[in-house]
């Protein structure tokens, strides 16, 4: 049994949808006890998301979205519209190290759970607030979803094919998850600081600022050179060939990137040194880059005789950067990920056996972390109210009747 780094850390988790839950998911997998606080009045939105959009949802506990964003957490239901509910939460917070939330506005404050209030409950508390635009500034209450943030930060304007206009970024929740990971990192740093000094703090994370944090080259090209970059498709600012080429079969593609003359020679050799490879236009990096359109056409002429994997392996063995374009289902079947145990099977009370992706956490050559199925709504009420808050049966029963625990 590997000792988990966050063993003994408790998190009172108000996060919902994507960007928030993924933060606490990292903490949970690292061993923190994450208590997700919902209620039937306000279940996490993803519980009702259609997983990919085929089957209709038979209830709150079978959403794949929820399952992949909330595993290893505990779930309890408290009605925050009632003062007593807020009292209960305060009890939980007293026993917690971290409180997390990603509401669209100052909801915590309305509940009397703003950072100053929390500090009174527990002096060294760490409060994490994730939001689309941060907790200050004119946009602080704007609702935000990943694609909105992408549009605002400039990511969308840079997503697209060379010469074409911007197209919506297809990776659902990209910025939710990159923001979430920044959040997880910030919380760990804050815990580290508390570990040394006993001091807690408030973390204010802005998704749009995370979006910009990943666009420094484009942003600095503007701040330095006043240049506004446009979509570059699969192209690179210097490498050529550098693209995605059609292969044998239905919608199969392989990517190839060549960064040096050596790699270029290796590529030509792997392609059986076609005549055109000696062409003046492709003599050196600069000319290859200048004539990449033509070059791409010719390379595709070669790749189209192979399956994506054949081409990829041929080139990798020659020392050329290359890889097939995998679809999600292909990723699921990928032998490399399989061998590294990237997918884990869980038994879910209502979904049955589910195979879900881990977090990219590996230590000392083995997968790392604690993985338990995502909680059904209120699944751990017993644990929370009996064991944790040590409440007598009858009080719990009463609170249930009063729809405080609900």
């Amino acid at each position: 049994m590997q000792e988990l780094p966050l063993e003994g850390i408790r998190v009172a988790d108000f996060c919902h949808v994507w960007a928030g839950p993924h933060v606490t998911q990292w903490l949970a997998v690292m061993g923190a006890e994450v208590i997700k606080i919902e209620s039937h009045l306000r279940p996490d939105l993803t519980r009702s998301f259609f997983a990919g959009g085929k089957t209709l949802m038979p209830g709150l506990n079978q959403s794949v979205d929820f399952a992949v964003l909330n595993y290893t957490k505990k779930g309890c239901t408290i009605n925050m519209t009632l003062p007593r509910g807020i009292e209960l939460v305060k009890e939980i917070i007293k026993l917690s190290d971290v409180v997390t939330e990603n509401f669209g506005g100052p909801v915590m404050e309305r509940w009397g759970l703003g950072y100053p209030d929390l500090k009174k409950l527990r002096a060294d508390i760490i409060l994490y607030s994730g939001s689309g635009f941060g907790r200050t500034g004119p946009y602080k209450e704007f609702p935000a979803y990943a694609p909105i943030i992408d549009a605002f930060a400039g990511l969308t304007s840079l997503n697209g094919y060379a010469g074409g206009g911007p197209v919506p970024f297809g990776v659902g929740g990209w910025t939710d998850l990159t923001a979430a990971q920044h959040g997880a990192f910030a919380i760990l740093a804050a815990l580290h600081h508390r570990f040394r000094t006993g001091e807690g703090q408030h973390i204010d994370l802005s998704m749009s600022e995370v979006g910009c944090a990943f666009l420094p080259d484009a942003i600095m090209d503007y701040t330095m050179n006043d240049r506004v970059q446009r979509p570059q498709g699969n192209r690179d600012i210097a490498m050529a060939p550098h693209g995605c080429y059609r292969c044998q079969g239905e919608d199969n593609w392989v990517t190839i990137a060549v960064s040096t003359d050596e790699e270029w020679e290796a590529l030509c050799h792997a392609m059986g040194d076609p005549e055109w490879a000696d062409d003046e236009r492709f003599r050196d990096g600069l000319s290859r880059w200048t004539n990449q359109e033509e070059l791409d056409r010719l390379i595709q002429g070669w790749t189209s005789n192979y399956t994506d994997w054949q081409a990829a392996v041929l080139l990798q063995e020659a020392g050329v950067m290359a890889g097939p374009t995998l679809s999600p289902q292909a990723v699921v079947q990928d032998r490399h990920l399989a061998e590294r145990g990237f997918f884990i099977d869980m038994d879910h009370p209502e979904m049955g056996k589910v195979r879900l992706p881990r977090l990219p956490l590996n230590m000392n050559h083995s997968p790392f972390g604690k993985y338990e199925h995502a909680p059904s709504i209120g699944e751990h009420n017993d644990y929370v109210f009996r064991e944790l808050l040590k409440m007598p049966e009858e009080e719990i029963a009463r609170l249930q009747e009063e729809q405080v625990i609900f």
Binding site: A151, V167, G172, F185, L205, I219, N225, N234, M239, V332
Partner: protein
């Protein structure tokens, strides 16, 4: 005091993934000593953007952004002396971040097994395209390849092209894959640091960029495993339904209507057009079915609207809607200004540069730029003489030999 100001980190990393991991630590106060090859230095120094497009080792925007708050030394780790020094540095550190190929690291004798013998408490974070094990672990990759191999490019774009199958799968904005790997690496590193608090034992963090990216499409992977859902690249197959990238008179906007409330409010923004009342759009299921139709109607309306007014109206009704900004517009946005997001450094050799600042604000231990990215070998003397006790004469010999 920075949150991590007691952590000593050696960053033996190139380009983006390793250095971004190091930056996250350094910006919160960790002492990060960046080890670069003599001469060329980090690859990001050659990448740009450069002021006036004039390449200069000390002026690459990407480098300057990625290496704030670090100390910089040059070291030819392939030489005996260089290897010696790197080992000494590691022995004095809590954390080693590296993103070299597993084979190279093994050959140089910097693998975790060897290093942890001298320093059992060491946390070593290796960030590589495919991780330390598995059939592809020696494969070469870059941002493009990783993005495609992990399934992300296959889902990009989610619309905006007529016949998606005619277009190749699309890597996102460049370098995203590298940044993400560095970020995941930083979290994993911190978790190893916590494990060490408890046990005193170090760990080898094996961060596979492949997995870091695949982890991002977790919902689609889940859908594939749980519902056997096949993602194919045909128009409309993408979950882009209930969202729209639309064109106004004077620019583009993006709107999300994935709840009944958002839809209702959006219809108000459009001035309650009759078509919106049709049962084609009555509930989410219906709207998802007929989203293409909805799009056509919305775009028909939007094309005469002014972007500013449209977005303001939508925000007033709390509909998630934003203009599709270029980085110019986002950089100049009132919101980022209000949070004074942008950091700025100004030094003689480099000039004045503005770049993204803290993605998060910590109330007690602020994110800070305490020193700009190091010039190549700027801290050789401070680190090699100051900490490892070499003499300046020794430095001269090492320089002449190309060790530093």
């Amino acid at each position: 005091m920075g949150a991590l100001s007691d952590l000593k980190v050696i960053e033996w990393g190139e380009f983006i993934s390793g250095p971004y991991c190091g930056k996250l630590l350094a910006d919160l106060g960790a002492e990060v000593v960046k080890v670069e090859k003599p001469g060329y230095g980090d690859r990001s120094r050659s990448y740009g953007p450069f002021p006036q497009d004039l390449p200069h080792t000390e002026k690459s925007g990407l480098y300057l952004y990625l290496n704030t708050n670090k100390l910089g030394v040059t070291l030819n780790w392939a030489s005996v002396t260089g290897a010696e020094i790197l080992k000494e540095l590691v022995t004095q550190a809590d954390i080693l971040i590296e993103n070299h190929s597993p084979r190279e690291v093994e050959e140089l004798g910097f693998d975790y097994r060897t290093l942890s013998k001298a320093h059992p408490g060491l946390v070593m974070t290796s960030i590589t395209p495919f991780g330390q094990s598995g059939p592809y672990h020696d494969y070469k990759a870059c941002d493009l390849v990783s993005f495609h191999v992990s399934g992300l490019a296959h889902m990009n774009p989610s619309g905006g092209v007529d016949d998606i199958q005619e277009e190749p799968p699309l890597r996102g904005k460049s370098l995203q894959a590298d940044f993400l790997a560095g970020l995941s690496g930083a979290i994993a590193t911190m978790s190893a640091v916590f494990a060490r608090h408890a046990t005193g034992q170090g760990r080898h963090v094996d961060l596979s960029q492949h997995e870091a990216l695949a982890s991002v499409i977790r919902r689609d992977l889940g859908a594939a495993t749980y519902e056997g859902l096949e993602r194919i690249r045909v128009k409309g197959a993408q979950p882009s339904t209930e969202t729209l990238l639309g064109q106004c008179r004077d620019g583009q906007f993006f709107v999300v209507c994935n709840t009944d409330r958002f839809w209702a409010n959006w219809v108000e923004v459009m001035g309650n057009p009759e078509w919106a009342a049709s049962e084609l759009f009555q509930d989410r299921a219906a709207r998802r079915e007929n989203w293409d139709a909805a799009k056509i109607m919305i775009e028909e309306w939007a094309k005469d609207q002014s972007l500013g007014e449209l977005v303001r109206a939508a925000q007033a009704r709390r509909v998630p809607c934003m203009p599709v900004n270029t980085v110019k517009e986002s950089t100049n946005s009132e919101q980022l200004a209000a949070r004074n997001y942008f950091a700025e450094v100004d030094r003689e050799e480099v000039g004045r540069v503005r770049f993204p600042g803290a993605p998060y604000k910590l109330s007690q231990t602020p994110w800070q730029v305490q020193r700009p990215a190091p010039l190549l070998g700027e801290h050789n003397e401070e680190v090699l003489c100051g900490r490892l006790g070499y003499s300046r004469q020794d430095l001269a010999v090492m320089r002449a030999e190309g060790v530093i």
